[in-house]
């Protein structure tokens, strides 16, 4: 648990620092508003943690989010919000299964597969929509994206549910142990008759579903379905997961770490914005944080710290 405590301490220090840099940081309005965007990153980060634990990766999450956003838009317009949401999930599922099938059954490297589907899904989204966004959404989407439930942004509740479910799956079930075993040594896992293919396929499929959920939340937040939604999201998600201590080489996973990673990145961006740091500097800061996180990861594992 050493790593997670370090991250928690970092988060606390950063929160203190940001509140010094700007008197607006610690206001409830600001912090809750911050979670609106973080929810989208956080939801996908849950699945990304599982996938990275298997020593895989998924670069197509941003593009799949865009594709599900377009699916949601067109289906909602043609029929109704419920169909729209169903079609969005179906699209995400198909996308995830596509990734999973190529990776699990054809044993293609996840990096290459998801790099390709990153382009494929985005291209599909652009072609279907002809780069035209879809606006005009029913009021229920306003509630999801811009509204509150018991004073808390709706998407924060959604994130909590996803996080809790993922945590139980990863930490308390055999499924979670399988994921780590595959990441540690997939040959050994196969030899031990673990259902490697099924586990991998389901992990990427679940990612597809969560991308769809994030796509619905994003589309609801901006009230527009856009083919370019989620551009660059994969970088944010992977940074958060790596920062959280999940090893990129697989075998170790920490959802608590991922949560702290997402929060740290969010706090830094939000605090920097409030303090007047221009956007151009924030990109540099994000890069520096990722390098620091990777270095930290390396040093901790190098010392053989028991996990």
């Amino acid at each position: 648990m050493k790593r997670e405590s370090g991250l928690l301490l970092t988060l606390i220090i950063l929160v203190a620092a940001m509140s010094v840099l700007s008197p607006y940081f610690l206001r409830t309005g600001n912090l809750l508003g911050l979670t609106r965007h973080l929810a989208e990153v956080g939801i996908i980060a849950c699945a990304m943690t599982c996938i990275i634990a298997t020593s895989g990766i998924d670069l197509s999450v941003g593009s799949l989010l865009g594709l599900t956003s377009i699916a949601l838009g067109y289906a909602s317009l043609a029929w109704n919000p419920a169909s729209g949401i169903a079609i969005a999930f179906a699209t995400g599922l198909v996308g995830g299964l596509f990734n999973g099938a190529l990776i699990a059954h054809f044993a293609l490297p996840p990096l290459v597969v998801t790099l390709a589907t990153m382009a494929l899904f985005r291209g599909l989204a652009m072609t279907i929509s002809q780069a035209q966004p879809v606006s005009d959404f029913a009021p229920i989407f306003d509630w999801i994206g811009q509204g509150t439930t018991a004073f808390i942004p709706t998407q924060l509740w959604i994130w909590c549910v996803v996080y809790a479910t993922s945590w139980v799956l990863l930490e308390r079930t055999g499924y979670g142990r399988y994921l780590r075993a595959i990441g540690d040594n997939s040959q050994a896992a196969r030899a031990a008759t673990l259902p490697v293919k099924r586990v991998l396929l389901s992990a990427y499929a679940a990612m597809g579903l969560l991308c769809a959920l994030a796509g619905i939340v994003y589309t609801a937040r901006v009230s527009t379905a856009r083919a370019d939604a989620g551009t660059g999201l994969e970088l944010e998600v992977i940074t958060a997961v790596v920062l959280g201590g999940t090893s990129i080489t697989g075998g170790r996973a920490s959802l608590v770490g991922t949560l702290l990673g997402v929060l740290i990145l969010g706090v830094v961006r939000n605090g920097a914005s409030l303090a007047g740091v221009p956007s151009v500097w924030q990109a540099i800061i994000a890069g520096v944080i990722l390098i620091a996180a990777a270095a930290l990861n390396y040093r901790l594992t190098d010392r053989g710290t028991a996990h």
Partner: protein, 323 residues
């Protein structure tokens, strides 16, 4: 060890952040479509000049690319900062409406500039010139150069930008009423990316060899298109007309690829936006005209603040301007 990294990061942040002061100063937030292109850098110059003149605090920032999701995020953050007014150039007329409406509910004065936002989501729109003037003049200039007939194409920015779409609407109207011999064979987006504009223009020349003129209607599409035509060796044969900053187009005007550049003064646009925002905060509403510092009396048409008429740059005057 990690603690040193954190301390270092904090020092770094402290050194480049500005301290928030609880003053009675008016605080304005101004957001372009994106940062890092000439046109919006020019707007920033004007905005900062106005802020200095009026003695108000200006936060000027935007996303690194024309991403409306990031604009929404940034607006969320700004709304927590207790700003008196927010002026934004939206990348999409609908996507920011819910966020801007929330800002209006929080008693923040909301203005849009350069491009508008739909759905009653802003108090005022600072428009550079009427859409009709810009669209019609773009067509008139083309017709002057290639005559009243021929195949033409448009390279625009983003297919969702409200201003670019309305200009194209007026271009179509002008063609229909005055130059029906002009045939628009293609309209392509270039997403505020000059490389993409270059590529797209090259493809246009190959796909439509009979083209006689190309419009590049953003400050990034225009130089991209001009470069493509010059590199294809067709300067003078294919006319290139559009909207861009003088600095972006000087080389093409000098070598003859481009005869006329249409724009307005973006420095003035930025200046006027801050003036209008401050006036809206001080007086709550704007009357039929606004005294905007060095710009004098500016017309306010309903809820649109008009900068004026568009301006033409050509080899006779382009060297005088530096933006």
């Amino acid at each position: 060890m990690s603690k040193w990294i954190i301390c270092g990061a904090l020092l770094f942040l402290c050194s480049c952040a500005s301290q928030e002061e609880q003053t009675q100063n008016i605080r304005i937030g101004m957001m372009p479509k994106l940062v890092g292109i000439d046109y919006f850098n020019a707007c920033e110059k004007g905005a900062r000049a106005a802020a200095a003149e009026l003695g108000v605090e200006l936060v000027y920032d935007g996303p690194l690319n024309n991403d409306v999701g990031k604009q929404a995020e940034m607006l969320d953050t700004w709304m927590a900062m207790g700003l008196d007014a927010i002026a934004v150039a939206p990348n999409d007329p609908n996507a920011l409406s819910p966020t801007l409406r929330r800002a209006m509910q929080q008693r923040i004065k909301v203005l849009t500039w350069d491009a508008d936002s739909a759905g009653e989501s802003r108090h005022y729109f600072v428009n550079q010139a009427t859409y009709e003037d810009i669209g019609s003049e773009l067509v008139d200039i083309m017709a002057e150069q290639i005559g009243p007939e021929g195949d033409v194409a448009i390279v625009t920015g983003s297919l969702t930008a409200a201003n670019q779409n309305i200009w194209m609407e007026w271009m179509n109207k002008r063609i229909a009423s005055a130059f029906p011999g002009l045939q628009i064979v293609a309209v392509r987006p270039s997403e505020e990316d000059q490389q993409l504009a270059y590529q797209v223009s090259q493809d246009l020349l190959k796909a439509h060899p009979t083209i006689r003129g190309v419009w590049g209607i953003t400050s990034v599409a225009f130089p991209g298109a001009a470069a493509a035509i010059r590199d294809a060796g067709r300067s003078g044969e294919v006319a290139v007309v559009g909207l861009a900053t003088p600095n972006g187009m000087k080389e093409y005007v000098r070598d003859g690829t481009v005869e006329t550049v249409l724009l307005w003064n973006p420095v003035d646009l930025g200046y006027l936006t801050v003036q209008a925002a401050v006036a809206a905060v001080r007086n709550d509403t704007l009357g039929a005209s606004l005294t905007a510092g060095r710009l004098g009396e500016v017309t306010v048409l309903d809820d649109q603040v008009l900068l004026g008429a568009p301006m033409q740059f050509n080899k006779d005057n382009i060297e005088e301007f530096d933006f």
